[in-house]
């Protein structure tokens, strides 16, 4: 009734291949953008920012990155935490080595450095596939965390072994450090999320995105139409790691402020981001956001409801969180491998026809 494509005529291929082909969708996303940029920063509380918005934005970037590699190109990776650590430590080294360099460029440079590291660990992907590649990236995860722990140069030989972000400003407002206002940090991350989501959409709808999906769906057939498998897989590793590096950089510099590698970027982070894209939807930009929102919101909502409202002990609620997430992973893998995004698509299909069944 309300969600219709009737009357929304496409008269050119440009119109036909636009991101949101249905007019109502376009308006909804436009409204969401306005809300996110102009309303949310001024109405939200510090608690909302720290517990929900910042982790959501930062992990959405990581989920987008992993989705490019795993969802679009079909290369399973368990090294997300390690690559986030590369982004974080690059940021730390760059911040301390070049105090005058704007944090904005530092974050992007950290992404580029991580892209290089990602390509290095992506090299085995030509020879090994599936489960074995996952194990190889797991090795990357453990190696990187070990390296950042062991080699003092990375944390400037600080006694605690921790890295902490000094204060840096953008347009006169502190973004990192103790004096950063929550709304500034939020907007800083939001700009990255927006730009990266837009880039993902462009990359996945064009030539390179189709070559990723071709490698994922049928690598032999991809090769006989001219797709170079090594270059395609490495490009996915590079771009995916770029995203994950930026996410790690923001996670350390803007969100945490100080980090210890094993705790902040351990194997749990790899699994967290992997769960996000499985629950959200493999090979879907919307799914990356949905999965990140779900995994960030679930523990908060459970805590609010069971611990604060009903009064259960908090450790019990934390365990409940694990049980629910574990159950949902199994559920989604069996029932809906394309996650929340596929559910959302089904709902939209139904809405287009409503009130008729078909």
């Amino acid at each position: 009734m309300f969600y219709r494509e009737a009357g929304d005529y496409k008269t050119s291929y440009v119109d036909d291949s636009q991101t949101f082909p249905i007019a109502l969708d376009r308006r909804i996303y436009m409204a969401a953008a306005v809300l996110a940029f102009l309303v949310v920063p001024f109405v939200m509380t510090d608690y909302l920012v720290n517990a929900i918005m910042m982790p959501f934005l930062i992990f959405a970037i990581a989920a987008l990155g992993l989705n490019i590699l795993t969802g679009y190109c079909g290369q399973v990776s368990l090294g997300t935490g390690g690559f986030m650590a590369v982004g974080a430590y690059s940021t730390y080294k760059l911040m301390t080595a070049f105090p005058d360099l704007n944090i904005f460029f530092i974050v992007i440079l950290s992404g580029i450095i991580t892209a290089g590291v990602g390509v290095l660990f992506g090299l085995p992907s030509l020879r090994i596939k599936g489960f074995y590649l996952a194990v190889a990236t797991l090795a990357a995860q453990f190696f990187l965390v070990w390296m950042f722990n062991k080699v003092g140069w990375f944390y400037n030989y600080s006694a605690s072994g921790q890295i902490s972000a000094p204060e840096r400003t953008v347009l006169g407002q502190a973004v990192t450090g103790a004096n950063a206002a929550p709304w500034v940090s939020y907007l800083f991350c939001l700009v990255f999320v927006f730009a990266l989501a837009w880039l993902t959409r462009n990359l996945t709808r064009g030539r390179i995105g189709r070559s990723w999906m071709a490698i994922r769906d049928m690598d032999i057939a991809a090769e006989i139409i001219g797709v170079n498998p090594l270059r395609t897989k490495l490009s996915a590793f590079a771009i995916s790691s770029f995203y994950i590096g930026i996410s790690g950089s923001l996670f350390f510099a803007v969100y945490l402020g100080a980090a210890e590698v094993g705790e902040a970027f351990g194997i749990q982070k790899s699994f967290l981001v992997l769960f996000m894209i499985i629950i959200g939807g493999l090979g879907s930009i919307f799914g990356s956001f949905a999965g990140a929102a779900f995994m960030v919101l679930l523990p908060v909502i459970l805590k609010l409801f069971f611990a604060d409202f009903i009064g259960w002990p908090t450790d019990l609620v934390a365990h409940l969180n694990f049980i629910i997430v574990g159950g949902l992973i199994v559920f989604f893998l069996i029932v809906e491998p394309h996650g929340l995004a596929a559910l959302w698509r089904t709902i939209k299909e139904k809405l287009r026809l409503w009130p008729f069944p078909h």
């Binding site: 999906m213 071709a214 006989i224």
Partner: protein, 273 residues
Amino acid sequence: MNDMSPDSYTTADGRTIGGKIMEVKNITLRFGGVVAIKDISFDIREGEIRAIIGPNGAGKSSMLNVINGFYHPQEGEILFRGEKRGPMKPYQIAQQGIARTFQNIALFKGMSTLDNIMTGRFTHMKAPVWKQAIWRGEAEREEIENREVVEKIIDFLEIQAIRKTPVGRLPYGLQKRVELGRALAAEPKLLLLDEPMAGMNVEEKEDMSRFILDVNDEFGTTIALIEHDMGVVMDISDRVVVLDYGKKIGDGTPDEVRANPEVIDAYLGVSHD
């Protein structure tokens, strides 16, 4: 290049058959002790429909895999458009203008019909990655230009209605058609079809035969095909090469091949009296 060689001729239905676009010379392919292909030579002429037939295990698919680079033969050489081909990877051979379809459909299941055929345009798209990331400008222009080419192929194959359908949901016959479309999108100089009619009913076979003839006639594409249905092969091909146990036992026009006693023996068996 010997396109304009003096031995070009015109067929009864008015198509011009040119010189040799591909020459396969003394190819031998072994897997350990098993000899899959033994000293086979034949050529494919520009503009013709060339069939490769033979009983099961004769080495037909292996031959196709040698031509497009999945297998590297131990002996022999391949000349494409007059030039000797070194050891190449399948994607490099694709870039030279050789496309193919598979016996078991090898479509990209998670993508729509349109995206599958668009992927076939891969070698014709040149915008660098950073321009694709920005999209506006060169990448978008290139996408639209290639979309126009793809839409022509979609019209040609009469699959307009399933443009946006994920190919995994399509029936078998249509999937075969989409796969042909993907190979055509590359605008190949030589098109290899591995059993394009396997598992089809009579009507689907008729449709597919018509498409193959039209591709050859309208686009002038040279086609080499493997097929088991003798009726179809004899009807549509200009020349036929017959393999049996990895050896070539016949080569010539359909009528010549049909009259060849060795071919008859291979297909009908031979009495050992």
